[in-house]
């Protein structure tokens, strides 16, 4: 087993939330033909309370958007460390160019929903994942180690 890094926990959390959102979405799709699928005969609506407790998908998307905004705003100035700052700055700017190049990907992925009827949670999951990967790549450049 290789080294466990913070980014793996973050990725795992994204996967966890996407699976829950996807599974519930599948259940509710099936429920359009027979509503009794999601209703529990004996007690309160179980799936509704379950959905409320795991309703983190929107929060995750919001924090991912916030991360991507922060990447756009960030700027590095040559500081007291001179050469080192410039070195890191160059790496950062290279990555930022990379970021600007692929920032259209989420929009393209979102377009898939309309063109190919791909469920919303797939495209949102991919978008969140892309931003998480880019963010951790930039962190790795700034801190000069795998995070």
């Amino acid at each position: 087993m290789a080294e466990l890094l913070p980014r793996h926990i973050y990725y795992a959390f994204i996967v966890f939330v996407v699976i829950i959102a996807g599974g519930l979405s599948m259940m509710y799709n099936a429920a359009t033909t027979s509503p009794s699928i999601v209703l529990d005969a004996g007690s309160e609506n179980t799936t509704k309370s379950f959905n409320n407790s795991f309703n983190k998908f929107t929060e995750l998307k919001a924090s991912s958007d916030q991360l991507s905004d922060k990447i756009g705003e960030f700027s590095t100035n040559p500081g007291v460390f001179g050469f080192l700052d410039t070195l890191i700055g160059t790496s950062y700017n290279t990555l930022k160019t990379f970021y600007n190049t692929i920032v259209f990907v989420p929009a393209a992925v979102d377009g898939l929903t309309e063109s190919f009827n791909i469920p919303w949670w797939v495209t949102t999951g991919i978008t969140i994942f892309i931003f998480a990967i880019i963010t951790f790549a930039i962190f790795s450049v700034i801190f000069q180690r795998d995070i």
Binding site: A2, L4, F13, V15, A30, I37
Partner: protein
């Protein structure tokens, strides 16, 4: 002392489906859930014996059983809780898989 069970429903059954429905009825929805669980164990053990990693197998088998449980729920064979249980199992095994898979 065993409990008395009305077996007249079983005698009236003409197809396998009737029999399974009856078994499900007398076990208070446990029969259907146990069938899905049996499927889960069969898939898990057969894939592990083929040499796949246990964490990978868990994701696959729990997802297959989740889809099966949606279908079973459609005919009123399992409870909502079984469906949610397999969904949680898929999510947790996916979480563990990403913990383990490091590049």
């Amino acid at each position: 002392m065993g409990t008395l069970i009305n077996l007249t429903g079983l005698q009236n059954s003409t197809t396998v489906m009737d029999m399974v429905n009856y078994a499900n009825q007398v076990t208070n929805n446990l029969g259907g859930s146990m069938l899905i669980f049996a499927t889960f164990f069969v898939i898990t053990i057969s894939l592990v014996r083929r040499g796949y990693a246990f964490s990978d197998v868990l994701v696959v088998s729990s997802f297959i059983c989740f889809v099966l449980s949606i279908l079973a729920r459609y005919i009123g064979f399992v409870s909502v809780h079984t469906m949610l249980l397999f969904l949680i199992m898929t999510a947790i095994s996916g979480f563990i898989l990403f913990f383990k898979k490091t590049d």
